[in-house]
Symmetry: C2
Subunit: 545 residues, 2 copies
């Protein structure tokens, strides 16, 4: 079975099955089932309360995998056998296991943001309407699929913004949190604006461009120039296949450069004469790596090929890139080769994070690409996004969970959110009850802070987008999800269209006072506060004294 074929049938990772959940979802489902509640209508929302990385925005991702999961959602007989033997469930009624075995997602309706959407705290990213038991059972899987995807896409976009037009490439597989920590990072950092990945599994599964050259071990594997004295290359100028080493040695200005490194570069050039990019820092970048690369590049030029560039993997990357560029320019001047090195790439890698990118962007450098691994794929600055999944309506009644902590108060009921624009720029997000009409263009709308009575304003939108649209109904996906390339474009267009203070990754946001407002309709405000009051009166009369 090829992983590509599998990807078309179900989730990319075959571990994503109804069993990828917490035991308590099953025990709760059983208690619902025993209490006759398992098929009660329910509405759940998936959202988060704070942007990651102290930022102003988050990207929503993971919907594509969720839809693949929902489409094929079925417990297998094998799963049921396992569950029956689980100590927690061993005394459960047989009828419950029949229920599980027959359960599918045909009674589920899912509304969601578009993959790659810029999203803010409290905006429902996914709204699920369906039987209580089913909605409960899928909670953990959905959270797992959204949390990391959205986190790493957000991380990637912030890095792309920090890199300021310099291409970013994902190099993190080896340090990722497991195989699909790596593969998910490759996929969603591409959505976030990276140009490619080193991970060929991800490249094959998702059609992401794969990029890579060689490592230090490659340089170490050569011991002397004897290793490469027999290597031949087609000379496109002469049409003959010729030994390559003598041509390189012709251009070698000093024998003080490392021989084994030069041998490695020659080997690599003969293997990839059209795309030769050499790792220049195994011994000494400026005294050995770059001079060796220049000798090889000049020989390649003699043979009719253009060398591709170098990679720097240690040292002061910005300063080194400037000095490397100078060596290239000097060589061009000396050899009179028509600006041979003008477009030679200088790729930098070595523990790069957002802060370093930002610092590099502010200084003079000649880096043309960044290879970014650990900090990107493990989201070192904040390795988890705190998405939650909450019941907001059950059996037609809005449900809320009161909390002393305002940030944790749930906005109850079946809702829809809109993005309101002014002069084509996003102005604020506006949550209304699902039954309310869509905000009218050109008409003033009262927008309320759900928790602060005095904080309300009137705005007159020039445009309003409904954020959640039906993506899954009666067991089927409603429309094809965006391709990765489309999601990637969508991210880019949003980054360009949002006010710059929202996409300003250097600003540390205050979660209690985000620049971008998420407000509610007056009707929802009143509904929330009436429910809140009733909840207090019903259950807390005695305690409130």
């Amino acid at each position: 079975m090829s992983t590509t074929a599998k990807a078309n049938e179900g989730p990319t990772n075959p571990l994503v099955t109804p069993m990828l959940t917490d035991l308590y979802q099953i025990t709760m489902a059983y208690a619902y089932w025993k209490s006759g509640k398992v098929n009660e209508d329910s509405v759940f929302e998936l959202f988060f309360r704070k942007n990651p990385f102290k930022g102003e925005f988050t990207l929503f991702c993971g919907l594509d995998e969720i839809l693949k999961f929902l489409k094929v959602f079925r417990f297998t007989k094998d799963d049921i056998e396992y569950l029956k033997k689980t100590p927690a469930l061993k005394n459960s009624d047989a009828g419950f296991f029949d229920y599980l075995l027959k359960l599918d997602t045909s009674a589920l309706k899912v509304r969601a943001l578009q993959e790659g959407s810029v999203v803010f705290p409290r905006i429902p990213m996914i709204i699920l309407e369906g039987p209580l038991g089913l909605c409960q059972l899928i909670e953990t899987t959905l959270l797992n699929l959204v949390n990391f995807s959205s986190l790493v896409a957000t991380n990637a976009t912030r890095m792309v913004l920090a890199a300021q037009k310099v291409a970013c490439i994902e190099f993190g597989l080896r340090r990722a949190q497991g195989p699909d920590g790596g593969c998910s990072a490759s996929k969603y950092s591409y959505v976030g604006g990276f140009v490619g990945t080193s991970n060929i599994q991800a490249g094959k599964m998702h059609g992401i461009p794969v990029i890579g050259t060689h490592a230090h071990a490659f340089v170490q594997a050569f011991t002397s120039l004897e290793d490469v004295e027999e290597l031949e290359l087609l000379n496109k100028e002469s049409g003959n296949t010729e030994k390559f080493l003598p041509h390189v040695l012709k251009h070698r200005k000093s024998e003080a450069t490392n021989d084994s490194e030069l041998a490695a570069f020659i080997s690599y050039a003969c293997a990839f004469p059209d795309t030769c990019l050499c790792l220049a820092d195994t011994y000494d970048t400026l005294r050995s790596g770059v001079p060796n690369f220049i000798s090889v590049a000049l020989a390649l030029d003699d043979f009719g090929y253009k060398a591709n560039g170098i990679r720097l993997d240690s040292g002061d990357l910005g300063e080194l890139s400037v000095q490397c560029k100078k060596l290239f320019t000097d060589s061009d001047k000396e050899t009179n080769r028509h600006n041979l090195f003008d477009n030679v790439k200088i790729v930098a890698s070595d523990g790069i994070n957002e802060k370093m990118l930002n610092k590099l962007s502010k200084t003079k450098h000649n880096i043309t690409g960044y290879g970014i691994g650990t900090n990107l794929v493990t989201c070192q600055a904040q390795p988890a996004l705190g998405c939650v999944y909450k019941l907001v309506e059950c059996k037609g009644k809005a449900r809320m969970k009161f909390s002393q902590d305002a940030i944790k108060i749930l906005i109850p009921g079946r809702k829809t959110a809109y993005r309101l624009y002014e002069d084509d720029k996003p102005l604020l997000d506006y949550i209304a009850l699902a039954e309310e009409n869509m905000p009218e263009i050109g008409q003033p709308i009262i927008c309320c802070n759900p928790f602060v009575k005095e904080d309300r304003k009137t705005c007159t939108p020039s445009k309003a987008d409904c954020l959640q649209n039906i993506v899954f109904d009666k067991g089927e996906c409603i429309k094809p999800t965006l391709s990765l390339v489309e999601s990637r474009k969508y991210v880019k267009s949003q980054m360009e269209n949002f006010p710059s203070e929202i996409t300003d990754f250097t600003r540390e946001s205050d979660p209690k006072n985000y620049l971008y407002s998420v407000m509610v309709s007056e009707k929802l405000y009143n509904f929330l506060h009436e429910l809140w009051k009733a909840e207090n009166e019903k259950n807390w009369s005695e305690n409130q004294k």
Copy 2:
């Protein structure tokens, strides 16, 4: 196909194939192939340079998945078709793709630490001997499989130490870095000493105990006591099936507790009368959750069942647990129920990390179990372990990579490491050339700091363990790997046997001055320094001026 069946054939995660690697491994292999080096004998080592979490030790994990991967390692035709079309490889010789298609691991010999071993910086965790191309191709996959497994096992063990005998349960699937970020965390935190997981996929695949009760949504799903007035339970005392609600109401001391919460607890108790554990903090732990639980527990007792306990998911967990325990004790006194609540569990969850565990352990509390999620599974304190994979010998010649940074200098050559003991306690780890004899018990041995000439000492071991043993040869695993339960026991026994300053998780270690020494034999010291000198003389004569 069941995931269990699959787990027996190959890696747990079907994404783990030879394609789970970096493109540069393939381009390097091609250059080796073109240069006639692809089958040269090589030796690679996998190790790390710094312990994670500023600690003194690391646990080695991931070997089981690596062996499963190596056993079935083959590129598929589909993989090769994909690679042929990759821009970087599109001009490559057809013979190379034949080489890849035919490549298996029959020429590979692997020596490794035992799964779950305590390991220190620079000790080779895995030593690979085989053809250069093959060893290069598997680098990324091996690093991916070791890095996170070892990191999360280490994190788990530190938390278990911090929890001081209180059981730790893994609850992190929803916040993990992807599906097998979650499943790997479940597996390796069990090895690290956790007692179980909430993740049923991991439970099913690996036979780990699964644990779980209910969530806030479950409580919210109930609106009033009417929801449960029909629920019946077998009264083991009378032998009759009776309505349960009236018995609970008999024990309810105040109607000020939340009705919907009480309804939820009654539903849960009727579903799980033998194992009823209730989440007590949805409304107010002490004024509603615990009193409601007590009413239900007393009614269960009337029916002949023992309630299991409560879970606290917010607030000051230590202080709350003490107050909950007091309510239980008060109830026991009042009701004269023969210490009904003596063994009732108080499970605490809510963003628990190592620091909180340590703080709780130092204060009075009555917590009997911790549910730990995000901080465990994403290793928030340090989300990546920096294992590297280095060429130490090629074509029979030792290879080294010189670096200005002492910590990055490679110890060259084919080596073996030993753990030397004094009075049955580990004293230091000692790396020797593979050709050297095993240290003799009772004989003095000179142990050298590889980089500081003056730092050497003589020790007389009472015991010496060879750390790396052959685990894979000629395409086959040499002996069955430890089961998870065996690895878990092995971790525990090591934690008990290492000197307490090594397992002291509260101490911040200095990576330049670890308490536990990793030293080399005098022969290896001399070999390293001769090679180093020769390397300098050969290539740097001019630059050294």
